[in-house]
């Protein structure tokens, strides 16, 4: 029960005061000193509580230690109580939220103080076990005066916004991008240039640097030869995250993952991998998420932008989405990575549309192996098996049209596919020549 933000007498004071007074009066009237002895501790308690009667009314504010955290990482809910000279003990109880854990697990802490400082701070460590935007820190705070005689509150404290960035899954790729199209980067291009990757040894041409002269070959042939290298360029990657359908139960960063969990964490991992290597990454979320696109750019600040957008992803289809008018703003030569369980029409149409434009499209299958959709319901299990068969047919069709489909398995997921796309690109280029 909320008693408001003023001080009020507690049942402890009522018990100590009225209990001691009643027993003492009976003791005096009936000449029973033993009752007076029984009442004495309560009487001392009541006197102590009345002497420490509080005057000033405190006020409480709540703040979070960090506005952004990674899923699984902790922060502090910090409740500051001002005007707390009369508070001897304060307690904070947070409202429990799904995917948010506190230490202690009950979300209740209390602290007592010997001195009479004007400001008290209660800190409760909390952590969000799943990415997303959370409102945490709401709950009740209460204070008690000396000897437990008077209580302030409980008064509500209001929730604060916490952005929980996805914990990127472990991802690494040793394969270069099939079509690097930028100016500087780490991927070997198809043209000669100032890189470190060996291309050939060829006769010297005006303009070649002297340090590139290949002296052994030059001495053997009698003509100056130089070592030529391929240029190194950056790649452009578009991440397409399908949030239209979420299948499976999300149990947080340490439990089982839903399809959307896998999609978000995998795309975060890939974004981090490419952006740290200096490549350009863009993001498009297919679903009802309000802020659903991040332009293609590079840099660590851009990584924060991508992760922030991924943290805002909410499951659900966007019924107003017009696939014919959908603009992905993806430049030629970009790789498009579609993170999807391929269970929604939108993601299938988007994938085939992008592939039809001649882009390298790779579908990263985000359906976890251990997913349990039906539980003990046999009819639901049968329906889910039929749905999986339909999906299998669809994935086979995609593969036949030249769109590679790989299941997300962390490091090396894209290596083989990118290598194949690179070889295919080289053959195409050779054919054009």
């Amino acid at each position: 029960m909320l008693r408001g933000a003023t001080w009020h007498a507690t049942p402890v004071l009522v018990r100590a005061g009225l209990g001691s007074a009643t027993l003492s009066v009976i003791a005096v009237v009936l000449a029973r000193p033993d009752l007076l002895v029984l009442a004495t501790p309560l009487l001392v308690h009541a006197v102590g509580a009345v002497v420490r009667r509080p005057g000033r009314t405190p006020s409480a504010t709540v703040r979070l230690g960090h506005p952004y955290v990674r899923e699984g990482d902790g922060t502090l809910v910090r409740v500051t109580v001002d005007g707390a000279e009369d508070i001897e003990h304060a307690a904070l109880a947070l409202v429990p939220h799904r995917h948010v854990v506190a230490r202690p697990a009950s979300g209740v802490i209390g602290a007592s103080w010997w001195d009479r400082a004007p400001r008290r701070v209660l800190e409760l460590p909390v952590a969000s076990l799943r990415w997303g935007r959370r409102r945490i820190g709401d709950g009740l705070v209460a204070g008690t005066s000396g000897w437990g005689g008077y209580a302030w509150g409980p008064v509500p404290v209001f929730p604060q916004d916490l952005t929980v960035l996805p914990q990127p899954g472990v991802f690494d790729s040793r394969t270069a991008s099939p079509h690097p199209i930028g100016l500087v980067g780490q991927h070997p291009a198809r043209r000669r240039g100032d890189g470190s990757e060996f291309e050939s040894i060829r006769p010297f041409q005006p303009g070649d640097r002297l340090r590139r002269v290949q002296w052994r070959v030059s001495l053997r042939t009698g003509n100056l030869h130089v070592t030529s290298t391929v240029a190194e360029e950056d790649a452009s990657v578009l991440l397409l995250v399908d949030s239209g359908v979420e299948v499976g139960r999300s149990e947080g960063v340490r439990g089982r993952a839903s399809t959307l969990d896998v999609a978000v964490r995998a795309s975060a991992a890939v974004a981090e991998h490419y952006l740290i290597r200096g490549d350009r990454v863009g993001l498009r979320v297919l679903g009802s998420t309000h802020h659903n696109a991040v332009h293609t750019a590079a840099g660590r600040r851009h990584l924060r932008r991508v992760l922030d957008t991924l943290a805002r992803v909410v499951p659900g289809e966007n019924r107003d989405l017009d696939l014919d008018r959908m603009r992905f703003q993806v430049s030629a030569g970009s790789i498009v990575l579609v993170f999807s369980p391929m269970l929604s029409q939108v993601s299938v149409v988007a994938t085939t549309t992008l592939a039809a434009r001649g882009l390298d499209v790779v579908v990263v299958d985000c359906l976890p192996d251990d997913i349990d959709v039906a539980g003990d319901d046999e009819r639901a299990a049968l329906a889910w098996r039929m749905r999986l068969l339909e999906r299998e047919v669809l994935l086979t069709r995609l593969r036949r049209t030249g769109i590679p489909v790989v299941a997300w398995r962390g490091p090396g997921t894209l290596d083989e596919v990118l290598r194949r796309l690179g070889r295919r690109g080289a053959r195409t280029t050779a054919g054009h020549r």
């Binding site: 049942p11 018990r15 100590a16 007074a21 005096v28 002895v37 009345v50 202690p104 209390g110 007592s112």
Partner: protein, 180 residues
């Protein structure tokens, strides 16, 4: 939140305090025959029922009823008013009151911190020290076998009724302020 939920959400420390709330009235009831008093099964059963209720809802005003009930039961049953068992009974009632007090500091799941326990250790010494002092004074007066004095009794009553008046005004004012 219902009572059973509150018990289920309690920390081990809170459960221990609830156990103290349950055990101290039983000890009190056991002290009556030990001290030479008469054991009343019906009155004792009522006390046990009250104790269970208070153990489930220690932060309410039911504990006041239990304390008063035990005091009156002691008065009716104990034959030797100032024996050593009176002090044991005083410590017992105080422990009951202290356990209820510590349980009322926070919601279920609240763990009394070390500073709070240290504060109440000091206060307990003061409260029980005062009880021992009153017991010694009462024993001395009883030993001296002074004649009953209407003035002293009247003065004590005035002081007590004054204290009751102050307390009532304070509590009534706090209640009115709270209602505003």
């Amino acid at each position: 939140m219902n009572v059973l939920d509150r018990v289920a959400l309690s920390t081990p420390e809170e459960r221990a305090l609830r156990a103290v709330v349950l055990v101290t009235p039983l000890v009190f009831l056991a002290l009556i025959p030990v001290g030479g008093g008469v054991f009343h099964p019906v009155f004792s059963a009522v006390a046990v029922g009250l104790a269970v209720f208070v153990a489930l809802l220690p932060e309410g005003n039911a504990a006041l009823g239990l304390v008063l009930y035990l005091g009156v039961l002691w008065m009716l049953s104990a034959p030797e008013p100032l024996g050593g068992w009176t002090l044991v009974a005083t410590v017992d009632v105080y422990l009951l009151h202290l356990a209820c007090t510590l349980l009322s500091y926070g919601p279920p799941g609240h763990r009394p911190d070390a500073t709070l326990l240290a504060l109440w250790s000091r206060r307990s010494v003061l409260c029980l020290g005062a009880a021992v002092l009153v017991w010694l004074v009462a024993r001395t007066v009883d030993f001296l076998d002074l004649p009953p004095s209407g003035t002293v009794v009247g003065l004590a009553l005035v002081v007590l009724l004054g204290w009751v008046a102050v307390l009532t005004v304070r509590l009534a004012r706090d209640g009115a302020g709270d209602a505003d």
